[in-house]
Symmetry: C2
Subunit: 116 residues, 2 copies
DNA sequence: TTGCTATATGCCGATCATCGATATATAACG
DNA sequence: CGTTATATATCGATGATCGGCATATAGCAA
């Protein structure tokens, strides 16, 4: 299994609570990352194609709103499972990082402790 | 500022509680990721060089143990700050992802809520 | 003694997700 | 009439990571 990069992860999170269309994903990712990640159009549509071909997301209908086409996407069951697993992993490592940073340096235990 | 990828993030976390040498980082990353990420030697040493040139880590002495050279590295003040910021960001997004997944789909609020 | 595994560092070509730019089209605002 | 927001899409360039290879010592097993 290869690495899930930040923009890809954020796209999956944007779809975690229901269907969204491309531009809506871009906006949600912007908010999700507190403005730190601006998803490029090139990245988004390439990512959507790739995730669809991997079976993690699927088309969820089209709609014309104010003369503009909206193409919706949603997570598949498999996509939800991958996102859940990836999120738990990231949560655990992030917590461990902050735990380590909050302790004085050099007090690393000799024997490996179980953090995950 | 560009994306911090998974292997790079894990190297920083491995150094979060003190100095470690290359091979020790590989082992810690393996444990940190619950065996999911096996850091390649090529990735590690390239990453260490890059992080050092960016000022996020620095050399922390050499040592010969049982006839083998160990080259140690540690976080700089700037590296600690970057890791802390990145960890908080990842923690927040991961929590939001799990929150969304645990709620029934389609009950997305019309008005943007503040989660970060 | 020959080979395998663990420890330990390092280089190099290939891959591919992301970046950045560009293109097209409608609606709204000044 | 030009700019901004909405909306989708393509394409070449970049660079972090992958996977393989090289080198060397120590310990264990066949």
């Amino acid at each position: 299994m290869s690495e899930v990069r930040e923009p890809t992860f954020l796209v999956l999170v944007a779809l975690a609570d229901g269907r969204r269309h491309g531009y809506g994903i871009i906006q949600d990712v912007e908010r999700l990352s507190s403005g730190k990640t601006t998803l490029r159009a090139g990245t988004l549509y390439a990512t959507l194609d790739r995730l669809a071909s991997e079976g993690l997301i699927e088309g969820a209908g089209e709609e014309v709103v104010e003369g503009r086409l909206r193409r919706y996407y949603q997570l598949t069951v498999q996509g939800s499972a991958v996102l859940e697993s990836e999120s738990k992993q990231r949560l655990a490592v992030s917590k461990e990082a902050l735990r380590r940073l909050s302790r004085p340096r050099g007090s690393r235990p000799r024997i490996a402790g179980g953090f995950a």
